[in-house]
């Protein structure tokens, strides 16, 4: 919808689509600035501290100040680093996580690309991030970076499987891969959300609820691992690997990694919201509908989408200060011995229920 408006406005499809493609960036950058501050505040308060308090009200502008500092920093490339790959890696990581945003329906009026294979595209394109991380670790020519990158790759590749299986079970219920259609299917209040059995009625809905909750838990755990968050933050593991694959990065390149990391955090949260919690759908209905103002509805949807995403980002931060880091063997145990069998059983049960 926004694309059409932009085409009308500029009279040129190329310009319109470039602007449309840049729109998620307008969302990501303020989100990252806010999320970094939120992370610091949440972690501080969970440890009975205050966190940043000086820059602006309760330190809200802290991230802006930090960013300005980062931009001023010297852009160091280590002497023995593989220069080309070293420069390419952060770009690739960010491109991978940004590309995923193309398939997200931010509201009924805006979706970067209304591809029918939406969720499939997201899973596929987010694997580019793994390549980027490996590249960063390898090009840095630093043992800690390489360890971090290797762990990251092993972890992300392992946890793609339970994620994919859960997504598959959702796809079986909804019968579509398109994220926009999935969101559309969950319209009309929170009881129509996928976690409460979706828009089905009767016995099927009630039978689906417990299995959807299990599916959500599996999805959430594996998504945590995919974005390298605690308790699965082995690739970064500050206390053992300095900071993993971005040890050697400084200045702008480091901030791009940071941006990509937080963009990824929101991306998986947004996928969780779309698959299980109705995407951009409001849980109660819209003020715009109530007042008869049509243009307000998409903005409300954007608000709900952002809120749901932010909530899951908050839960990620919450978990970070609750759980210690798992060991490598525990990490693999959780994935291969627990999540994957559960995901398979869950997939079969959900498949059987949908047959009813």
């Amino acid at each position: 919808m926004i694309q059409e408006i932009l085409i009308d406005l500029f009279g040129n499809e190329i310009v319109a689509f470039i602007i449309s493609a840049a729109l998620p960036l307008v969302f990501i950058v303020p989100f990252v600035i806010f999320a970094v501050w939120l992370e610091r505040k949440v972690s501080a308060h969970m440890q009975d501290r205050l966190g940043p308090m000086r820059v602006g009200w309760h330190g809200v502008l802290q991230t802006v100040a930090d960013f300005i500092k980062l931009v001023q920093k010297e852009d160091i490339i280590a002497a023995d680093a593989d220069k080309k790959m070293f420069i390419l890696a952060p770009i690739m990581v960010f491109a991978g996580s940004y590309a995923a945003y193309a398939a997200f329906p931010f509201s009924s009026a805006y979706i970067g690309s209304g591809v029918d294979v939406g969720i499939f595209f997201v899973i596929a394109i987010s694997s580019v991030v793994v390549a980027g991380l490996l590249m960063a670790g390898w090009a840095s020519n630093n043992k800690y970076s390489l360890y971090g990158a290797m762990r990251s790759a092993a972890q992300i590749v392992s946890y793609e499987i339970p994620t994919a299986l859960v997504i598959l079970s959702i796809v079986m219920v909804t019968g579509t891969l398109s994220l926009a259609e999935m969101s559309e299917l969950q319209a009309g209040g929170f009881w129509n959300w996928q976690i409460f059995g979706g828009a089905e009625t009767g016995l099927v809905k009630i039978l689906l609820i417990p299995f959807m909750i299990i599916a959500f838990i599996i999805f959430y755990i594996s998504s945590l691992a995919e974005v390298n968050r605690t308790p699965f933050d082995m690739p970064e593991a500050e206390s053992e690997l300095v900071s993993g694959y971005h040890t050697e990065y400084s200045g702008m390149k480091f901030s791009i990694f940071f941006l990509a990391e937080y963009a990824n955090m929101f991306a998986v949260s947004a996928i969780a919201a779309i698959l299980f919690f109705g995407g951009y759908q409001s849980p109660f209905g819209y003020i715009g509908d109530l007042l008869g103002i049509d243009w307000l509805v998409p903005f409300e949807q954007l608000f709900w989408f952002a809120m749901k995403g932010l909530f899951f980002v908050f839960v990620q931060m919450w978990l970070r200060w609750t759980l210690p880091r798992v060991r490598v063997d525990q990490l693999m145990t959780i994935c291969w011995k627990y999540l994957i069998p559960y995901a398979f059983v869950n997939l079969i049960i959900i498949g059987l229920i949908t047959l009813i």
Binding site: A44, D48, L50, W321, T322
Partner: protein
């Protein structure tokens, strides 16, 4: 199988318990003190930067002697009897001009040993603890109130007084000697005669 299910249940359940605890901590009062704006109340007998009330100092050097690290440096000049230096707040008569009273806080170990011997209680601990400097020399605090000109003046006065005194003494001695000589001279003829 039973153990397996139990493990998975424990995994989820203990995470939730932990999450509850961290969530409760989000709303407990934080222990942070916003230092430069908010300061903790200091204990009553806290030992920080020294202060010397020069009005009360009698230049007895007790504190200088007590100091284990020799960070106090005092020089005094005697006063001339014609000058009245007044008394200290606890009634002691001041007899010395304290021309130098330096405390080097770079050396000071804040042991408070200098405080107790002071007969007039003029050296004491304050509550100031923020006095860091960029130059080590700026930590050498000078408490003496006399200006260099005054010091020179006092020294000259003392010299003049001493000289006068010495002269008077010499004169007196001379007179005495003369008298004695006279006496012997007077005595002599008698014995000779």
């Amino acid at each position: 199988m039973k153990q397996y299910l139990r493990n998975s249940w424990d995994g989820i359940w203990t995470v939730l318990v932990g999450m509850k605890i961290t969530f409760m901590h989000m709303f407990t009062k934080s222990v942070t003190i916003q230092y430069p704006t908010v300061k903790v109340k200091l204990p009553e007998r806290v030992r920080n930067r020294l202060y010397v009330n020069m009005d009360d100092c009698i230049g007895c050097l007790q504190c200088e002697r007590a100091c284990p690290v020799s960070c106090i440096e005092i020089e005094t000049v005697k006063s001339v009897p014609s000058e009245d230096l007044g008394t200290t707040s606890n009634g002691k008569k001041k007899a010395l001009h304290v021309t130098t009273f330096n405390i080097d806080f770079a050396k000071c170990c804040y042991c408070q040993l200098c405080v107790f011997p002071c007969p007039t209680e003029c050296i004491y601990m304050t509550e100031t603890y923020e006095f860091s400097e960029f130059e080590r020399n700026s930590l050498n605090y000078k408490f003496a109130t006399l200006t260099p000109e005054e010091v020179v003046d006092k020294k000259q006065k003392l010299e003049v007084f001493d000289a006068e005194k010495a002269a008077a003494k010499a004169e007196a001695e001379k007179a005495k000697a003369e008298e004695a000589a006279k006496k012997t001279a007077e005595d002599k003829p008698e014995t000779e005669n």
